[in-house]
């Protein structure tokens, strides 16, 4: 099972770009990388998923280097509502357990 390591916390200001990096040195060939956002008293919510290179959607970008041992979630122009905990999840084929890391608490100030 791939173990992930993220910074415990990050601070930012509104309008800035935020990059959160996740380390997953023992990622397996079949593993995908998925990022989730969690607000207090709510279940995590899917943000973005990728396997390699770069993935982009309407809310974030995900950068994965060629060796796939890390990944970076990029949030463009954050707002106060982006204050949340962000989890990097590395998961593999059917039947494998999906283990969350400790997550990164992002605090956005005005």
């Amino acid at each position: 099972l791939a173990k992930t390591t993220q910074p415990i916390s990050m601070d930012s200001y509104e309008g800035q770009e935020v990059n959160i990096t996740c380390s997953h040195n023992n990622i397996a060939t079949n593993d995908y990388i998925t990022w989730y956002q969690q607000f207090p008293s709510q279940g995590p919510r899917f943000i973005i998923q990728g396997y390699k290179t770069k993935v982009k959607n309407e809310v974030a970008s995900l950068f994965i280097p060629a060796d796939r041992k890390s990944s970076t979630l990029s949030l463009p122009r954050v707002s106060l509502s982006d204050t949340a905990v962000y989890y990097c999840l590395v998961g593999g084929p059917a039947g494998t357990a999906l283990i969350f890391g400790k997550g990164t608490t992002l605090s956005v100030s005005s």
């Binding site: 990388i33 279940g43 995590p44 919510r45 084929p93 059917a94 039947g95 357990a97 283990i99």
Partner: protein
């Protein structure tokens, strides 16, 4: 679609009591998961299932049991509740086997006194 529905939302148990947390999904997802989240901490996987009749242990299975008799339901049973089981429990489901998007329920907050 209602998505993933968990009941109850809140429950207080006495030490030694037992109870079942219910989880139902209406998305025809094969993969279902139970996580617990202690205050200020991350999510810990308790059990998961890849389909009806198939379950497996996660990181912290002790004190819990699960069953999966149908695709839709994945109940979590707590036997002999202990204060250490005070937590928020989240059920999740997924349609994609390759670590795909997890759809989470709203959580069940359990307090054991």
């Amino acid at each position: 679609n209602a998505g993933v529905t968990q009941t109850p939302k809140f429950r207080i148990l006495k030490i030694g009591q037992s109870m079942t947390l219910q989880c139902t999904q209406d998305m025809n997802h094969n993969y279902m998961y139970w996580y617990r989240q202690d205050p200020g901490m991350g999510l810990k996987l308790i059990y998961y299932s890849v389909g009806a009749g198939i379950t497996d242990k996660g990181e912290v299975p002790n004190g819990y049991n699960v069953s999966r008799s149908t695709t839709e339901d994945f109940p979590l049973r707590l036997e002999l509740a202990a204060p250490s089981q005070t937590s928020v429990y989240f059920c999740a489901s997924s349609y994609e086997p390759l670590g795909g998007e997890l759809f989470f329920g709203e959580g069940s907050r359990l307090t054991v006194l």
